[in-house]
């Protein structure tokens, strides 16, 4: 069952330098209890996409397209309806919990405020009991309700944020770099927690991250973004074992792991989103680019069930496969 369908979502920012096409025609679906990993580097539009899903973008943003949740387009909803959807249907956790928790409010006030605005009929006592239960479910003691955010460690704060997101048992949890500001051991703890609550609360998760290792651990499906577009999307195994898009190949090859011997050096840097290159946006950096790549934009096309790639040479690459992973690029760079 589809929880949410995003269709041709475009998010443009008007700036003094021109229009920034942060998200430029992105489409995907998410199934129940599925984790979709959205990966990409800084400036690829992944965080804008996360905010777009909750419609919490700054006023300078122009949004078009559709986000279908339970048969209705949430982009057509008014503020009051949206307020209900946020938190009750779609909840969000951010990278840095310290900047999202109010330093002057105790943890319990964060919970009470949320209960008060969404469930005014609930008494304070009931609300506090539920809050305590939620905190315990994420591995934080009930007493934490009386603490201020600064009294908690980074891991505890992120757990508290997760508990807050779970209040109304949302259908979808959007996690934007949830562990980036944490240490590796705490990161592993939080990831384990997210996997557990996903099962317990029957949620779907959109996990936005630059860390491919986290995606390997968490995701069922992966979407790779480059310069505001999805360039490849498919099941985790397909993307990680036989990536087709040259960018996906390069990205995977440049990850440093304990097994790394050679690293891939992708030439160049991501483009400016005000003046993206014509044709395929990766073409100027692509070792396979043909003339057509600089003129026309490749559509996102299915090459096998559930696995789509936006590349004119996808078929060829899927067969010949893995220029980067064969190590030619890394040798060349040496």
């Amino acid at each position: 069952m589809k929880i949410i369908s995003v269709k041709d979502l475009k998010i443009y920012y008007n700036t003094s330098r021109g229009v920034v096409k942060a998200v430029d025609g992105v489409s995907f679906d998410i199934e129940r209890e599925e984790t979709l990993g959205i990966v990409g580097e800084s400036g690829c539009g992944k965080s804008t996409l996360a905010m777009g899903l909750l419609d919490i973008l700054p006023p300078s943003a122009k949004v078009s397209g559709e986000i279908i949740l339970e048969g209705e387009d949430i982009l057509r909803k008014d503020d009051e309806e949206l307020r209900k959807i946020r938190h009750e249907k779609i909840a969000l956790i951010f990278q840095d919990p310290m900047t999202r928790l109010d330093p002057l409010m105790r943890i319990k006030d964060h919970f009470l405020e949320t209960f008060h605005s969404h469930r005014p009929e609930l008494s304070e006592e009931e609300a506090l009991k539920l809050s305590g239960d939620l905190l315990e479910a994420v591995g934080v003691s009930r007493e934490t309700l009386n603490y201020y955010p600064h009294e908690l460690s980074g891991g505890m704060r992120q757990r508290t944020m997760i508990a807050l997101a779970l209040i109304f048992n949302p259908l979808l949890l959007v996690a934007d770099e949830p562990t980036t500001s944490l240490d590796v051991i705490v990161e592993a703890q939080i990831l384990q927690l997210m996997n557990n609550i996903k099962k317990e609360f029957h949620m779907s998760i959109i996990l936005i991250t630059h860390n491919l290792g986290i995606v390997a651990e968490m995701a069922d499906r992966v979407a790779v973004m480059y310069a505001g577009k999805i360039v490849e999307i498919g099941p985790l195994e397909d993307i990680f074992i036989s990536p087709v898009h040259p960018y996906t190949q390069g990205l995977l090859g440049s990850v440093i792991t304990l097994e790394s011997k050679n690293l891939v050096m992708m030439p160049g840097e991501p483009p400016d989103l005000i003046n993206p290159p014509t044709g395929c946006r990766f073409a100027p950096r692509c070792p396979y680019a043909l003339d057509i790549c600089n003129k026309d934009e490749p559509p996102l096309e299915e090459i096998k069930k559930g696995h789509s790639v936006a590349c004119f040479r996808a078929k060829e690459l899927a067969e010949e496969k893995n220029y980067y992973l064969r190590g030619e690029a890394s040798e060349r760079a040496d």
């Binding site: 240490d183 590796v184 990161e187 592993a188 390997a216 440049s254 440093i256 304990l258 790394s260 891939v264």
Partner: protein, 329 residues
């Protein structure tokens, strides 16, 4: 006293930061509270080494790095550079040596002056340390820019940092560090804030520069995978102490300290087989409430009764491989 060794020889280094209290407390209480960021560590860095210092936030790795280039006041211990004790030097005495001991910071967005062009930023050090004649300044700067891969150098010379990407800024920071022909560079998480595809390029640049210019690195990172890629020796820190140190291959193939093992276990890798990870409970404790005995004992699955009472010494268990843990006594 054992004979001095290596390019850098650090002995029993301690760096304590006093906790500021409010006025009333300051008057009435005698005792002062300290955060013991680095609490008695000794190590040497040999010429040509890349020594990685690995640990989580709060382990004291950055403080260690900064004390070697004298950016923090040390509380105790000695730091020898080429046999000279720089630990006790004041700023004036140290100045001639500063050009030989350089640092690259984590955040390239914050470490470059926004009001100075790339060229000026690099020339500043060249001029201060009188590395080249005035009329050769520009020429030398362009050479340095080319050596860190910022080409065309003329183009980058007049750029302001705000117009550069993170990777380019970090290249400028590296250019500045190597501009005065240093012997030794402390690199404090130089790639932590960069994207994956940029990270690999910066690491490669650092490896190339090291080879070309015979540099010695103290490379600070929280990421064991990066450490393994770049270093030949490694040191793991936890709450101001070294818990394990040794040659890189030895540590990675044969980790001994439970904390090292936990760190290795926790790194997300690209493997798809989902394994059940054993993750230690809790987080690195508040350094004001330092655990008794072994600092890791309350998170350690092997902890014995003794671990909460006594602090294990760092002892050599095989050539060059040292561990501070009672399991290996």
């Amino acid at each position: 006293m054992r004979p001095l060794k290596g390019l850098i020889d650090v002995r029993d280094l301690r760096v304590y930061f006093p906790i500021r209290k409010n006025f009333i407390e300051e008057i009435f209480s005698r005792s002062r509270l300290y955060v013991k960021a680095v609490d008695g560590i000794s190590f040497t860095v040999d010429e040509g080494d890349t020594l990685c210092l690995v640990g989580e936030s709060g382990s004291g790795k950055t403080t260690t790095g900064r004390s070697i280039v004298k950016l923090v006041q040390i509380t105790g211990g000695d730091i020898y550079y080429k046999g000279i004790n720089i630990g006790s030097m004041d700023e004036k005495e140290f100045r001639p040596l500063r050009k030989e001991l350089q640092i690259i910071f984590q955040d390239p967005h914050a470490s470059l002056s926004p009001g100075m062009t790339v060229g000026k930023s690099i020339e500043f050090g060249l001029r201060l340390h009188k590395i080249v004649e005035r009329d050769r300044l520009r020429e030398r700067t362009l050479e340095i820019l080319r050596s860190v891969g910022l080409e065309p150098a003329d183009y980058y010379y007049d750029k302001y940092p705000a117009t550069l990407s993170g990777g380019q800024k970090q290249r400028v920071a590296i250019a500045r560090a190597i501009s005065c022909d240093p012997r030794f560079i402390v690199a404090d998480e130089p790639v932590a804030m960069l994207d994956m595809s940029v990270r690999s390029k910066i690491l490669k640049l650092m490896v190339d520069l090291k080879r070309e210019k015979n540099l010695t690195y103290l490379f600070i990172t929280h990421d064991l995978a990066t450490a393994k890629f770049i270093c030949n020796k490694i040191m793991i820190m936890y709450l101001g102490k070294i818990v394990e140190s040794g040659p890189s291959e030895e540590i990675f193939s044969n980790p001994k300290h439970p904390y090292t093992m936990a760190l290795m276990n926790a790194i997300p890798d690209l493997k798809l087989e989902k394994r059940e990870k054993e993750i230690p409970r809790g987080e690195i404790p508040n350094p004001l409430k330092m655990p008794s005995g072994c600092r890791f004992h309350n998170r350690c699955k092997f902890a014995m009764e003794r671990c909460s009472r006594e602090e294990p010494e760092l002892v050599e268990i095989s050539p060059g491989h040292r561990v501070a843990c009672f399991l290996y006594e």
